[in-house]
C-alpha cells in the first residue's frame, strides 16, 4: 500500500515535557497537604493547597506549551 511520507523531523520530544510531571506528582503527596493549619481565609491547608496545585498545573502546562510550540 502507499502511505504518506513520514512528516519530516517533527517530534514530540522535548526536555520541557519533564516539567509536566510536577503537577502529576505533587497532588499525590498527601503528606504535603493533609493537615488543618495554617488556615487561609478559613480554609484548612488540605483545601487551599490542593486548590493552589491547580495554579501549579496551569503554570507548568502553559510554560511547556509555550516552549514546545
Amino acid at each position: 500500500m502507499t502511505t504518506p511520507r513520514d512528516t519530516g523531523r517533527r517530534t514530540d520530544r522535548s526536555p520541557w515535557n519533564w516539567l509536566l510531571f510536577v503537577p502529576i506528582v505533587l497532588p499525590l503527596l498527601t503528606f504535603l497537604f493533609n493537615s488543618d493549619e495554617p488556615r487561609l481565609l478559613g480554609f484548612p491547608v488540605f483545601y487551599w493547597l490542593q486548590i493552589a496545585f491547580i495554579a501549579v498545573g496551569v503554570g507548568c502546562t502553559t510554560l511547556v506549551y509555550r516552549m514546545t510550540k
Binding site: P4, L20, F46, G57, T61
Partner: protein, 536 residues
C-alpha cells in the same frame, strides 16, 4: 409543588431555549452535508480553541459532577475532594498522550479509540474488546446524567414515584435524543456555551453569597468537622486519616488515567482542528478544576446549612441547598444550569457510544463496505437506542445502583489503558498479551468490586471503589482503589503474555502506523484518500 412555581417556570424556559439551540446547531458552521461520521460525530474535525474548551469542559464536568462530588463531601468529607487532584493530574497527562492520538487519528481518519487499536495492533478482536468496554462503561455514565436531572426535578417537587412523575425526565430526554439525532456533535458544542455561562454565574454567586449567609468559611469547616466527629463511620472527616490516603491517591491517579480512555472524551479531543488547539486547551481547561473545587465545597455548605437530603437520595443535597439559600428565581436558574449541564455530556456520550458500535461492530462485522452515509445513519439510530437504554435504566432501577455501575465503568475503562494509551507510545506489546491482560484486569476488577461492601448503603457487594488490603491478607486497615490494583494485574499479565507469545512465535498483527503519524498536524497528508484496505 406550589412553593416551586417560579423555579419551575425559570427552569422550563431556559431548558426549552437551549433545546431550540440544539436543533438550530445543525446549521452552525454550515456543513455541506451531515451524512458522514466526520461531520455528525466530530463536527467536521474543525473546532478551534474556544469551542474545544467549552466542549471538552462540558464533556468532562457533567451534571453528575456538580451533584455527586458535593454529595460525597457531604457524606464522607475529605475523601470526596479527590476530584480536585484528579483534575489537576489529568491535563498534563493528556498533554503528553492525547496529541499523539489526535495526530494518528487525523492521518488515518480514525473516530474511536478502538479504531486506533485496530490499526495499531492489527487485531479486530482486541478492537472489539476495546469497543465493548467503551460502550459498557459509557452507558451507566449517561444514566448518571439523568440522576443529576432527577435530583433537580425532585427538589422542585415534580418527580419521585409513579409513572406520571417520571414524565418530565422522559420529556427532557426525548428532546435531547431528537436534537442529537439531527445535529450530531454540533448540538452539545453549541449548548456547552450556555451551560458554562450558567454554571459559572451560579457557582460564583453560590460561593460568595452562601458562605456570607452561613457566617464564613471558618463556620462551614467547623460545622462539617463537628458532623463527622459525631458519626460512627471511621473514614470520614475534613482531613484524610492513615487508612484512606492510599485510596485517595490511587483513586485520583486512576480516575485521571481513566478519564481520557472514555470514548466521549476522545470524541471531544478528536473534534479539534489541530494539535495546537489541544495543547492550548490543556493549559486553559484547569479553569474548570477551580470551579469543581468550589462546587465540591457546596457539600460542606450544605452541612453547615443543615440541609436534609430528600428521602435517601444523597444527590439532592446541592439542589436542596440552592432551594433553601437562593431566591426562587435564581434557584430556577441554578436548577436549569444543572439540567442543561446534564444534556451536554449525555449527548456527547451517546454519540461516542454509537460510534463505537458503528465503526467497530457494524462496519467490522456486519457491513464491511458501509458508505459514509450508512455509517452516519447507523450511528444516529444507535445513539437513540443508547439513550432509550439509559432512560429505562434509570426508571427501572435504584439510582444508588446506577452509581455502583458507574464505579464499575471507571474500573473497566481503565483496562483499555495498555492497548490505547501505552499503545500510542510503543508497539512492544503483542496483541495476544494485551488480550490476556484485558481479561485478567477485567476479572480482577470484578472480583475486587464484588468484595467491597458498604454498610452505609446496606450493600454487601459492589459497595464502593475502596478495596481493603486486609482482604488480601495484609495486616493493615488501608484501602486502595480497586481499578488501580486491577490495572497493575492487567499490565503484569500483558507483559508476561507478550513474552510468552514472542517465545512461542505466535503471529502478531501488522502495525498500520508509522512513527511520523504520531506527530502529524493539520495539513499533513492523510491515508484516507489512498489505499484504506491496506491499513485497516
Amino acid at each position: 409543588m406550589s412553593g416551586h412555581v417560579t423555579e419551575i417556570v425559570v427552569f422550563t424556559v431556559l431548558f426549552l431555549l437551549v433545546s431550540g439551540m440544539g436543533f438550530v446547531a445543525a446549521r452552525w458552521r454550515r456543513p455541506a452535508d451531515l451524512a458522514s461520521l466526520d461531520e455528525w460525530e466530530l463536527g467536521g474535525r474543525n473546532f478551534g480553541a474556544w469551542i474545544t474548551w467549552f466542549l471538552v469542559g462540558g464533556d468532562l464536568y457533567t451534571a453528575y459532577t456538580f451533584v455527586a462530588v458535593p454529595a460525597l463531601l457531604f457524606g464522607a468529607g475529605a475523601a470526596g475532594f479527590f476530584a480536585v487532584p484528579y483534575t489537576v493530574i489529568v491535563y498534563p497527562l493528556v498533554f503528553l498522550v492525547m496529541i499523539r492520538l489526535w495526530s494518528v487519528s487525523h492521518v488515518h481518519g480514525l473516530v474511536t479509540p478502538a479504531d486506533f487499536v485496530r490499526v495499531r495492533f492489527g487485531s479486530p478482536t482486541l478492537a472489539l474488546l476495546v469497543a465493548i468496554t467503551g460502550i459498557v462503561a459509557t452507558m451507566p455514565y449517561i444514566a448518571l446524567q439523568l440522576v443529576g436531572i432527577e435530583a433537580v426535578l425532585k427538589t422542585m417537587g415534580i418527580a419521585g414515584g409513579g409513572f406520571l412523575s417520571d414524565l418530565p425526565l422522559i420529556i427532557a430526554f426525548v428532546i435531547l435524543a431528537a436534537y442529537t439525532y439531527q445535529s450530531g456533535l454540533r448540538a452539545p458544542a453549541l449548548i456547552a456555551f450556555v451551560k458554562d455561562v450558567l454554571i459559572y454565574v451560579v457557582i460564583m454567586v453560590a460561593i460568595i453569597y452562601i458562605p456570607a449567609r452561613l457566617g464564613g468559611w471558618d463556620v462551614i469547616f467547623g460545622r462539617a468537622a463537628e458532623k463527622f466527629a459525631a458519626t460512627p463511620a471511621p473514614n470520614d472527616g475534613v482531613l484524610l486519616n492513615a487508612n484512606n490516603q492510599l485510596q485517595y491517591v490511587t483513586l485520583a491517579l486512576g480516575s485521571a488515567l481513566a478519564l481520557f480512555l472514555y470514548p466521549h472524551s476522545v470524541t471531544g479531543v478528536l473534534a479539534s482542528r489541530n494539535r495546537d488547539v489541544i495543547k492550548r486547551n490543556m493549559s486553559a481547561l484547569p479553569a474548570y478544576s477551580l470551579l469543581l473545587a468550589l462546587i465540591a465545597l457546596l457539600g460542606y455548605m450544605a452541612i453547615a446549612a443543615g440541609v436534609r437530603p430528600i428521602g435517601t437520595d444523597g444527590n439532592t443535597v446541592v439542589p436542596v441547598l440552592f432551594d433553601q439559600m437562593f431566591p426562587d428565581w435564581f434557584a430556577g436558574v441554578a436548577f436549569a444550569a444543572v439540567g442543561i449541564g446534564a444534556l451536554v455530556p449525555a449527548a456527547i456520550m451517546s454519540i461516542a457510544a454509537a460510534n463505537l458500535f458503528t465503526r467497530n461492530i457494524y462496519r467490522e462485522y456486519l457491513n464491511k463496505n458501509a458508505t459514509d452515509a450508512q455509517e452516519a445513519n447507523v450511528s444516529k439510530v444507535t445513539s437513540l437506542v443508547v439513550k432509550v437504554g439509559a432512560v429505562l435504566f434509570i426508571l427501572g432501577i435504584d439510582p444508588q445502583f446506577s452509581i455502583d455501575l458507574q464505579l464499575i465503568g471507571g474500573v473497566i475503562i481503565l483496562q483499555t489503558l495498555p492497548s490505547v494509551a501505552i499503545g500510542l507510545f510503543t508497539r512492544w506489546f503483542h496483541r495476544g498479551g494485551l488480550i490476556a491482560g484485558w481479561i485478567a484486569g477485567m476479572g480482577t476488577g470484578m472480583v475486587l468490586l464484588y468484595n467491597i461492601s458498604n454498610p452505609v448503603t446496606d450493600h454487601e457487594h459492589f459497595g464502593g471503589s475502596a478495596f481493603q488490603l486486609a482482604k488480601l491478607g495484609l495486616d493493615t486497615k488501608m484501602t486502595v482503589y480497586a481499578g488501580f490494583l486491577a490495572l497493575i494485574v492487567n499490565l503484569v499479565v500483558s507483559v508476561l503474555g507478550t513474552l510468552v507469545a514472542r517465545a512461542m512465535r505466535a503471529p502478531d498483527g501488522v502495525d498500520g502506523t508509522k512513527p511520523g503519524h504520531y506527530t502529524a498536524d493539520e495539513g499533513d497528508p492523510r491515508v484516507k484518500d489512498l489505499d484504506l484496505s491496506g491499513s485497516t
